[in-house]
Structure formats: structure tokens, C-alpha cells
């Protein structure tokens, strides 16, 4: 059973989307994430850096035909934090359903 815990780092809309997207995958390339989120390179870089500093994602670089590409993936603690955050959101959303 995952413990419910609100995570302020994950909850910011773009970071939440990044984590949710990566949770379905092993790894995704920078451009793919950017296109899915529909944000600029600089905005995505900023959020990826914050998630990386929190230890929630890890990134690696690869070079193909002289072009550098960056791949990101959720770490174990990132997956755990996202699961806990989702549990907390469900609890809070449950309060809404109770009100209706």
C-alpha cells in the first residue's frame, strides 16, 4: 500500500505532466517530452533540472550523427514519490466526490 503524501516538487503542472508521462515509459528523449507538454526547450530544461535535483529523474546524453540528445527517466524514488502524490490527490478528490 502506497502512503499518501503531497509532493510540492511534483505538483507543479509541468512537472506533474513530466512525471506522469515518464511513469509509463522506461526512458524518453527531450524533444518527445517537449512535444508532449507543448513547452519551450528552456521551460522543459528548467523543470527537468528541478526534478533531477530532487532525485526524481535521471538523465543521460547520447550523440547520434554528431547531434546530442538527452534521455530522461523516472528514478525509483521518483516513481515512489509520484505514487504517493497520486494517492494524496485521490484522497483530496474523494473529498470532492463526498461533497457532491
Amino acid at each position: 500500500m502506497t502512503k499518501a503524501r503531497f509532493d510540492t516538487i511534483i505538483h507543479a503542472p509541468n512537472r506533474l505532466q513530466i512525471c506522469a508521462f515518464l511513469s509509463s515509459l522506461q526512458e524518453a528523449e527531450f524533444q518527445v517530452i517537449r512535444d508532449e507538454l507543448n513547452v519551450s526547450d528552456s521551460v522543459l530544461s528548467k523543470h527537468l533540472k528541478q526534478l533531477e535535483e530532487a532525485g526524481y529523474i535521471q538523465s543521460r546524453k547520447s550523440a547520434v550523427a554528431g547531434r546530442q540528445r538527452m534521455w530522461s527517466s523516472l528514478t525509483k524514488s521518483g516513481r515512489k514519490a509520484l505514487a504517493s502524490h497520486i494517492e494524496e490527490l485521490k484522497r483530496l478528490a474523494g473529498m470532492l466526490n463526498d461533497e457532491l
Binding site: Q17, A20, F21, A28, Q31, L89, L96
Partner: protein
């Protein structure tokens, strides 16, 4: 800084956003049909090469290098890929069973070819291995697409 005291409707919006992005991830994780075809052709050719008179290590090298190059190329082309190992214990055991089956098929084909000199056996084992790989990849594709339709966070 994000406010911890969010309202319940805001939590619901966040859950909807998570579901949407998870579905996008599953769609990206589903391997395309050309991937299934490519992998099965490489494996089938590798197995079938043992039908040659004295193939040496060429077939094994062809399979190992072929798969490594093809997977590398596919990943670069697709830009995203699903989890390498299944999430459940049953899935891991099923994968181990399929690997054992393919190994048995591979070495069984070589053994029969050498012991009984039946040159077409590796062609049959190659065909079986190719079909197995294609079906596996297709089932992985369906698994991810089914999750897209389901996709609860």
C-alpha cells in the same frame, strides 16, 4: 512554490492531467508494427542460417549484433520506449519461459541439423522463432494500447 492546501476540484484536475499524460506515455511505449516485423526477421534469419553447410559463429553473431543495432536504431527513431521488464512476477516468469523456449528451439535445431544431417530443420526453427517474436511484440503493442484505453492514474 506550490500551495499544499489545494482544493478537491484542483486535485481532480491534477488527476485528470496525470491520466492524460500516462495515456500519452503508453501510446509512445507501444512498439510500431515495423518493429515487430524487423525483430522477427532478424531472429528468423539468424536461426535459419544454421541450415548452411558450415555456418560457424555467423548466425549467433548476426542475431546478437542485428538485435543490438536494430533496437538502438528503433530507440533513436521513436524517442521513447516502454519498460524493458514486465511489472508483475507472472510477466517476468512468462518472459523467462519464452526465452527458455527460444534457446531450446535454437540449440535443438542445431543439434538435429548436425546429428541427423537434416538441413531444413533450422529453416523451420527460424520460422517458429520469427513468428514467436512477432506475436510477442504484437502482444506488447496491444498491452500498451489497452492501457491507453483503461489508463486510470
Amino acid at each position: 512554490m506550490v500551495d499544499k492546501n489545494i482544493k478537491s476540484d484542483e486535485a481532480q484536475d491534477a488527476l485528470d492531467s496525470i491520466e492524460k499524460m500516462k495515456n500519452s506515455g503508453f501510446r509512445r511505449a507501444a512498439p510500431p508494427r515495423w518493429y515487430a516485423v524487423g525483430m522477427s526477421v532478424i531472429v528468423a534469419i539468424g536461426f535459419a542460417l544454421y541450415a548452411l553447410e558450415s555456418p560457424g559463429n555467423t548466425p549467433a553473431l548476426f542475431v546478437v549484433l542485428g538485435i543490438a543495432l536494430f533496437v538502438g536504431f528503433s530507440r533513436e527513431k521513436l524517442g521513447a520506449f516502454g519498460k524493458e521488464l514486465p511489472d508483475t512476477k507472472v510477466g517476468v516468469w512468462a518472459l523467462a519461459g519464452i526465452c527458455a523456449f527460444l534457446f531450446a528451439l535454437f540449440f535443438g535445431g542445431i543439434f538435429i541439423r548436425r546429428a541427423y544431417d537434416i538441413s531444413w530443420v533450422p529453416l523451420v526453427t527460424g520460422l517458429i522463432a520469427g513468428i514467436t517474436i512477432y506475436l510477442l511484440s504484437e502482444s506488447e503493442r496491444r498491452y500498451y494500447l489497452a492501457k491507453t484505453n483503461d489508463g486510470t492514474p
